[in-house]
């Protein structure tokens, strides 16, 4: 036998989902190995994320997971000591046409049903929250003060530190090449460096989840699309919430930006049409498109200097919601895939849920969440404002 060691859980991917899962599992005493193809943690999609964290979705599963994420992230510093740059600035969706106004107001009903702290404000009210918004044509918008943002990099490292402190092991620069099954049960993970037996294998491989699943003959309906983002120089603080504009414009379906704890702004949009694939190379189209949008919505940003631009991958599912659950075909194979660009906000809550799944401590609420996120669900329509 060339098995290097046995672990209770082997997690594939040290990203926004794998890392909090490793922490949650190590914390309850499981032996955990995390494998990642990159040389250090969070180098896949985590580092490309801009760090928005909100619970104001319309899907109860996501709402529940993100509410827990906000709890974890917002109390992290006092609990564990790391500054993850949590800023409870809220999310602010702006409406400049009746079309967005209608979408938002429709959504509010659902959101209020789930007890979310989000309200409609008219233009005047919105300008009190963000005085620098372009007033011309502004109808109003929704504001959810309990949402916020953090540094994905620092959060990932904070989980990394705590996971290691609780004994989780990390094998970086190591690529999964296959699995060893005994009957219907996954028995071991094979990498380019060796084999590891495991009770449970978690696929948290983000945009590469399909590739990993294919090694067990699955065809996970997860495929990445490419999103470009940018970050500015730091300037004196003047914007608290994440600002979201859902109007389409040439090349983009929306726009969101916020000011980080460092004073820098990050910004990105959903390209329209979507750009499928894994091409992380930067293009010339992004900055002219995003700059126009940003200045239109907040003229004060004209003089804000752009520092860097990059591309990241969103592992998309057919309906825009994650796929979480045990495989029915391969025993011991747990999917936590298809975060659709929301891994950072879903990850902390999801990590704990995955830990409860492995230790068989699911609550009735968890059961409900898992039903909604089931990989075996029928894919209906996309969630509004996902």
């Amino acid at each position: 036998m060339k098995y290097k060691r046995h672990y209770d859980v082997v997690i594939i991917g040290a990203g926004s989902v794998g890392m909090p899962a490793a922490f949650a599992m190590a914390k309850v005493g499981l032996s955990v190995l995390v494998l990642d193809r990159f040389a250090s943690v969070g180098q896949g999609s985590n580092k490309a994320a801009i760090g928005g964290v909100r619970a104001t979705h319309s899907d109860p599963a996501k709402i529940r997971l993100c509410l827990r994420s906000i709890e974890i992230i917002s109390t992290w510093r006092e609990t564990y000591g790391h500054d993850v740059e949590w800023r409870p600035g809220g999310y602010l969706f702006v409406a400049y046409t009746p079309r967005e106004e209608r979408t938002m107001k429709d959504l509010l009903e659902i959101q209020h049903r789930y007890g979310l702290n989000i309200d409609w404000h008219d233009a005047e009210g919105l300008l009190e929250i963000v005085p620098d918004l372009n007033q011309q044509g502004l109808i109003g918008g929704t504001y959810s003060p309990d949402d916020g943002h953090c540094s994905p990099l620092l959060l990932n490292r904070a989980f990394y530190d705590e996971a290691r402190r609780h004994g989780a092991e990390f094998h970086l620069n190591e690529r999964v090449v296959g699995f060893i099954k005994v009957g219907d049960r996954v028995r071991a993970v094979r990498t380019d460096k060796g084999d590891y037996t495991a009770g449970v294998v978690v696929n948290a491989a983000g945009p590469w989840a399909r590739e990993v699943g294919a090694m067990l003959d699955f065809k996970h309906p997860v495929r990445p699309d490419c999103h470009e983002a940018g970050v500015s120089e730091p300037v004196a603080h003047f914007l608290d919430p994440m600002v979201v504009d859902i109007r389409p414009a040439p090349g983009s379906a929306n726009l969101y930006f916020h000011q980080l704890a460092s004073g820098q702004f990050t910004f990105n949009f959903t390209p329209d049409p979507l750009i499928w694939g894994e091409d992380k190379r930067e293009t010339s189209a992004f900055l002219p498109q995003v700059a126009r949008r940003m200045i239109k919505i907040m003229p004060r940003l004209s003089n804000l200097r752009v520092r860097r631009q990059w591309r990241g991958l969103y592992p998309m599912t057919p309906d825009g919601s994650p796929l979480v659950g045990w495989s029915h075909e391969v025993e011991g194979y747990l999917m936590a895939i298809g975060m659709c660009g929301q891994g950072v906000m879903l990850g902390p809550g999801l990590g704990e849920l995955l830990s409860r799944m492995v230790t068989c401590r699911l609550t009735p609420e968890d059961q409900e969440t898992l039903e909604i996120l089931s990989p075996y669900r029928a894919f209906a329509r996309q969630e509004a404002l996902r």
């Binding site: 011309q136 990099l153 120089e233 126009r292 003229p299 004060r300 004209s302 003089n303």
Partner: protein, 691 residues
């Protein structure tokens, strides 16, 4: 604090006007950068870092770092790249800059897109030489240059160039070579030049983002990209390494030789390569004292003639020494050096401190190759030339550019323009490091007239051989790196002084016994201010390496127009010294005297990433914990996340790995991302205001 008189450079100032710094009215001249104007007014602290309040000033003066940030008329800008304007209100950056309020959406234009056959990024020696080859063939070429003038670093070089007289203008001053190249380029109608225009990014869709005239964003799509972006200066780790007053030797040359600012009163230099040695020489030309130069290796890496030239002026050169601290509260007041052991660790007890206001860092250059690497990654037909390809002398860059120009023409399928073999060979020769150093051999002729050549190290240079009208100075024509020899046959030296004048190393003295064989005349080249030397004055004559020989009298100071600003000094020397004299000391010994006691800086402030103020200690700790990924260092500490994007700290961090005996092959390099410079959103939106 401006240079009013310079032995080589013409001091011509344009219109004076007022601007303000921190509300204080100051004078500037049209065309000056904000940085130059501030330095000229004695201001070296441009702000305080938002993270720890540390004072900030110039480091690169070349747009590579972002340490010189100021707020000019409400906008954060690099002081080194922005021209000061009448009435401009400049404020130091203290903490985070306030973004000015803007009331309405400005008009926005579509971003202009331009197609060209060849885009050349960088109008220095390599880029210009390439453009000449392309212009000659009528190829539509665009040169983008981020400065307000062409020539790159040539415009800072007051000294005569080494290299080959036939191929690369050897014996001509760098500043004049720049003008010659520009004149040629401007004559070709197919070559367009955009000054004050910076390349920001090479994109995967094969477009190159250019900020034209410092404000208009343009996307240029070339068939072939030529990257001739030169090199950037390396930083160095020591305590106090980011104090204002610690900056690159290239930055110093920019302030002094381009901007004509007396940037320092007295400086110290770390690094004995050509850049450091030449910077020391340029300092003395500009009337700035040089307290010494430290080089960690047992020998200076630069040309020996450069080293000797500086030593002869009276600058002590401390080999096997390094800088251990720059001292002072808000700016440099002194530096402390120490001897190093064979592993380059400072030896305790050998510390010496020197009073000075500036420490020049000249510890090597790295190619500015980001655009080239991106182009290769994205499958764009691209070439690199000059320092962007391989760091070497500017003479080598000229040939490298010429070859690149021919290769680009060939890549465009316009002709079978294979670079001639001779050119490739010349490029190799000019880029070669100094070779063997032959032992000193003195002629001891004691009669007639003849040159004594104080040039014993193999370097690529031949103006002396080209200059001798009788062909008596010989350098192997097959290999100009060979040492020159004075060989008399049937013809003999006529004492024409041409070799003395033309030698870029100022390494030839003419000894003439004909008038008075007991008191022969020694003729030396002199490139300092004429006023500093008078006939009848008694001076200290020194040998080749700067050791004092004795006091001699100046009998003549000759300024001959055809000698192009090189003065000739005649000394009346006793017979026994005549053939040893290679120069005269100009700097008083007290300038370079160490302080009575060495200062040891206590603050543990060795900075690796100056943008984000990340200390060496923080990074070393991660490395010792097992980190082998530059991206992880960035994620964990922010080193490399600042405005310069790891351009300055990247090489330093790699050195930290090496110091921990970790091979760089096992370290994952940064994933590099644009932009090269920080540019306002308004530019990308086509909304740059008219100015």
């Amino acid at each position: 604090m401006r240079i009013e008189e310079h032995p080589i450079l013409k001091v011509e100032r344009k219109r004076p006007f007022e601007f303000a710094f921190s509300g204080e009215k100051l004078q500037a001249y049209e065309g000056e950068t904000i940085a130059a104007a501030l330095f000229a007014n004695g201001i070296r602290i441009f702000g305080n870092h938002q993270k720890d309040g540390s004072p900030q000033g110039i480091f690169c003066a070349n747009s590579q770092c972002s340490q010189c940030l100021v707020i000019a008329d409400g906008k954060p800008l690099k002081a080194c790249m922005t021209a000061v304007r009448p009435g401009m209100q400049v404020e130091p950056v203290c903490g985070l800059p306030e973004l000015p309020k803007v009331d309405s959406v400005p008009p926005m234009r579509e971003i202009e897109e331009v197609e060209v056959q060849v885009l050349i990024i960088g109008g220095g020696p390599a880029g210009l030489s390439a453009a000449i080859e392309l212009g000659r063939r009528g190829i539509k070429t665009l040169i983008v240059e981020d400065k307000s003038a062409l020539g790159g670093k040539l415009v800072l070089q007051t000294h005569r160039f080494f290299g080959s007289s036939d191929a690369v203008y050897a014996g001509t001053r760098g500043i004049d070579i720049a003008a010659k190249l520009e004149e040629k380029v401007r004559a070709f109608p197919s070559v367009e030049v955009w000054l004050n225009s910076s390349a920001l990014a090479v994109f995967s869709d094969h477009k190159v983002g250019i900020l034209r005239n410092g404000k208009d964003y343009v996307l240029v799509e070339p068939e072939v990209l030529l990257v001739s972006t030169g090199a950037r200066e390396r930083s160095l780790v020591f305590r106090g390494n980011t104090l204002p007053g610690v900056y690159g030797a290239g930055a110093f040359q920019t302030l002094v030789n381009r901007d004509l600012v007396k940037a320092a009163e007295r400086l110290f230099i770390v690094g004995g390569g050509n850049v450091g040695l030449i910077a020391g020489y340029h300092a003395i030309q500009a009337g700035i004292q040089v307290a010494g130069l430290a080089e960690a290796l047992p020998e200076c890496g630069g040309y020996k003639v450069h080293r000797d030239k500086l030593a002869r002026l009276g600058v002590p050169i401390y080999t096997s020494h390094t800088v251990i601290s720059a001292n002072g509260k808000d700016q440099v007041e002194s530096v402390t050096i120490a001897q190093v052991d064979e592993k380059f660790n400072p030896i305790s007890g050998t510390e010496k401190s020197f009073a000075c206001d500036t420490l020049l860092v000249a510890v090597g250059l790295d190619p500015v190759d980001e655009f080239y690497r991106k182009a290769l990654e994205f499958g764009i037909t691209a070439l690199a030339a000059g320092d962007a390809k391989e760091v070497a002398e500017a003479s080598a860059a000229i040939i490298s550019g010429e070859i690149a120009g021919l290769k680009v023409a060939s890549a465009l399928g316009l002709e079978e323009a294979e670079a001639p073999k001779g050119l490739e060979r010349m490029a190799e020769v000019l880029a070669s490091k100094p070779g063997l150093c032959l032992p000193k051999g003195t002629p001891h002729r004691e009669e007639g007239v003849f040159p004594v050549i104080h040039c014993r190290q193999e370097i690529p240079c031949n103006p002396c051989a080209s200059a001798c009208p009788r062909g008596l100075i010989r350098i192997d024509p097959e290999d100009i790196r060979k040492v020159p020899e004075f060989v008399e046959g049937d013809k003999s030296c006529i004492g024409c002084e041409r070799c003395v004048v033309v030698c870029p190393g100022l390494a030839i003295a003419l000894v003439d016994y004909r008038k008075d064989s007991e008191w022969p005349t020694v003729t030396l080249p002199y490139e300092l201010s004429r006023e500093s030397l008078n006939v009848g004055e008694i001076v200290t004559a020194v040998d080749e390496e700067g050791n004092p020989l004795g006091e001699v009298e100046v009998t003549e100071v000759k300024a001959i127009p055809k000698n192009d600003r090189t003065l000739l000094i005649e000394l009346k020397s006793p017979r026994v010294l005549a053939e040893e004299i290679a120069g005269l000391r100009v700097q008083a010994p007290e300038v370079s005297a160490p302080l009575p006691e060495a200062t040891l800086r206590l603050a543990d402030d060795e900075i690796a990433c100056r943008c984000e103020r990340v200390t060496v200690g923080e990074i070393r700790k991660l490395i010792r914990e097992g980190c082998r990924d530059m991206n992880e260092i960035k994620a964990a500490t922010r080193a490399g996340m600042g405005p310069c994007g790891g351009k300055v700290c990247g090489p330093l961090i790699k050195r930290l790995f090496l110091e921990e005996s970790i091979s760089l092959e096992s370290v994952t390099d940064y994933v590099r991302r644009p932009l090269f410079l920080e540019v306002p959103l308004s530019a990308f939106a086509g909304a740059s205001d008219e100015e």
